[in-house]
């Protein structure tokens, strides 16, 4: 098995719900608290397994906002595991999930240096490295109904931009999406072979907008109503 995520950059609206759901589930999960520093201070910071960044792609007027959620890619060639001197970082042979054994970690940061995707964050309170577990404490939980045995970020996504599955299974939803939508990997040139795959924005025909605001009676009335309602 090669478990991982497919993230659709076409439908992701950048709402950060996946990051919040991740934090909520995992802060009380098996990898312990995702510590917050100065949570009520001026510059609150803390440990997150999932971060969403926002980019402008292309040049005006042919530009587009693209939101890119990033968590551990559970790479096939995970250098973070290779460089770990203690053996705390490991990749499970059965499903490819990369995990940190917090009882063994000495907090040297070396794995974070080896990760090109910024997936690992040191918890300064606990002194150990923390990272996405692909909700390993959830996806195998037989107490949960089958449809809930998915990572928290996938279940919560309101835009249905996240998919979880086995990339080794050619018939899985993730494999099919990657095939049909031309899934892409981040920084493939480094050779980490990340499992998580991103779906590029669909190619859409530009919708002409020049004539939309023609001064018709209907639009004038609509504008007036909108103004009144806003007041």
């Amino acid at each position: 098995m090669r478990l991982g995520l497919v993230i659709d950059m076409d439908t992701c609206v950048g709402c950060h719900a996946c990051a919040v759901a991740c934090k909520q589930w995992n802060t009380s999960g098996t990898t312990g608290a995702l510590t917050d520093y100065r949570p009520y201070g001026e510059d609150p910071s803390g440990v997150w397994f999932n971060r969403i960044r926002h980019y402008e792609v292309g040049d005006y007027p042919n530009n587009k906002t693209v939101n890119i959620p990033m968590s551990c890619m559970h790479c096939q060639h995970a250098d973070c595991v290779n460089v770990c001197p203690t053996g705390a970082s490991y990749k499970r042979p059965e499903d490819g999930i990369v995990l940190v054994d917090q009882d063994k970690c000495m907090g040297c940061n070396y794995c974070a240096w080896a990760c090109p995707y910024g997936a690992r964050e040191l918890d300064r309170e606990d002194g150990v490295m923390k990272k996405c577990t692909l909700c390993v404490d959830r996806i195998y939980d037989e107490q949960l109904p089958p449809e809930e045995r998915q990572p928290a970020c996938v279940i919560t996504c309101p835009a249905h931009a996240r998919f979880f599955g086995d990339f080794d299974d050619q018939d899985s939803e993730v494999s099919r999406l990657v095939r049909e939508r031309g899934g892409v990997k981040q920084m493939p040139e480094l050779g980490y072979k990340p499992v998580n795959t991103y779906l590029p924005p669909r190619i859409t025909r530009p919708i002409p907008t020049d004539d939309v605001r023609a001064n018709k009676l209907v639009t004038s009335v609509k504008d007036w109503v909108n103004k009144m309602v806003a007041r």
């Binding site: 402008e56 693209v66 460089v83 000495m106 892409v184 590029p200 669909r202 530009p206």
Partner: protein, 349 residues
């Protein structure tokens, strides 16, 4: 990279210690240079072992969870950090047998301690190499991902070792022109290698914001990092020293690290008292300390591409290089929308 003070001190101090031991073993075991007294041999050995041990203890300073430091010997098979730890510890018994031989038998040691000393010297070189490879093996930091990195660590360790070796020999009135000559050659070789490194990293290339975000056929600009305060990533990898700070420190590296020590040894060769070798030793240690700071400060991790850097050498503080020419493209407005996607045929459902 954020320069961790404990790692700078560790690599400089224990690097010089290993360099001193290599010089001691080479001069003593190969019979190069003047015969050394019992006291001088012990002084070289004790200073080098003291510096190595002090450095190794300081190296645990940057660990967030020190109680697990002993586990760093566990992954010898894959991790250069683990290999460094193993070789650094393996060095001690061999150096100890050699030291015991010197302590009991003086300069004319038997074959067993001599063999142990030679093995310890080789392990010292291997440890320096492993330290360099800790950084050199990282594909995520293009400035480090070069054979020059371990070469620098070995040569800088040996160069600082030669200055200490000459300085300690001077205390025992045993410093010769050979000591000064070897120091000059080692310092110049180290300076040349470091110069090549600085030349190389000014031209390094690798991943860009395009390959990082998968949009290889369009301009990509960061709109928002999604967080209001700093994160672990920005603290660790967002370090951006000013250009003139880098230039000043680099000047210091060459002046204090190489030029001043070479001048000191040059004046010793032309008749100045050998005792001023201490000036060279202190100067080179300070200069190499600056070099080590710069080694971290100039290294730029590829995760910075997700935080707005356009290339793997870009400073985050600098304005993005997409400036006027992009605006001109925008005015032309002829970029087809199909350029948004990386792969063709993204029809989807």
């Amino acid at each position: 990279m954020h320069p961790a003070f404990s790692v700078i001190l560790f690599t400089v101090i224990s690097g010089a210690g290993y360099g001193l031991f290599i010089l001691l073993a080479a001069f003593h075991l190969a019979g190069i240079g003047p015969a050394m007294s019992h006291g001088e041999l012990l002084a070289h050995g004790l200073v080098s072992l003291g510096m190595i041990t002090l450095g190794l203890m300081l190296s645990t300073g940057h660990l967030a969870n020190k109680k697990n430091a002993w586990r760093s010997f566990m992954r010898f098979k894959t991790s250069w950090l683990s290999r460094e730890a193993v070789f650094a510890v393996l060095f001690y018994p061999f150096a100890g047998i050699y030291g015991l031989g010197v302590l009991l038998q003086g300069s004319a040691i038997g074959p067993l301690p001599a063999m142990a000393g030679a093995i310890a010297a080789v392990l010292a070189v291997i440890t320096l190499f492993s330290t360099g490879m800790i950084y050199g093996c990282l594909k995520t930091i293009r400035q480090w991902n070069t054979a020059l990195t371990p070469a620098n660590y070995i040569m800088l360790g040996i160069a600082t070792g030669t200055t200490l070796f000459a300085a300690i020999a001077a205390v025992f009135g045993n410093a010769t022109t050979l000591h000064a000559g070897v120091a000059i050659v080692a310092l110049l070789a180290a300076a040349l290698l470091k110069g090549i490194y600085y030349f190389w990293i000014s031209r390094v290339n690798g991943p860009t914001i395009n390959t990082a975000t998968t949009f290889n056929r369009a301009t990509v600009r960061l709109l928002d990092t999604g967080h209001t305060a700093g994160t672990f990533l920005t603290d660790e990898f967002g370090y951006d020293p000013r250009k003139d700070t880098i230039d000043n420190i680099k000047m210091g590296v060459f002046l204090l690290g190489f030029i001043a020590p070479v001048l000191v040894f040059g004046s010793i060769l032309s008749g100045a008292p050998a005792g001023i070798a201490w000036l060279a030793a202190v100067s080179s240690l300070v200069g190499i300390g600056m070099e080590r700071w710069l080694f971290f400060a100039e290294a730029k991790h590829v995760v910075r591409l997700y935080h707005g850097a356009q290339t793997c050498t870009d400073s985050l503080a600098e304005p993005s290089r997409v400036g006027p020419e992009v605006a001109a493209d925008a005015r032309r407005g002829d970029a087809p929308r199909a350029e948004l996607g990386d792969t063709p045929g993204g029809s989807g459902s």
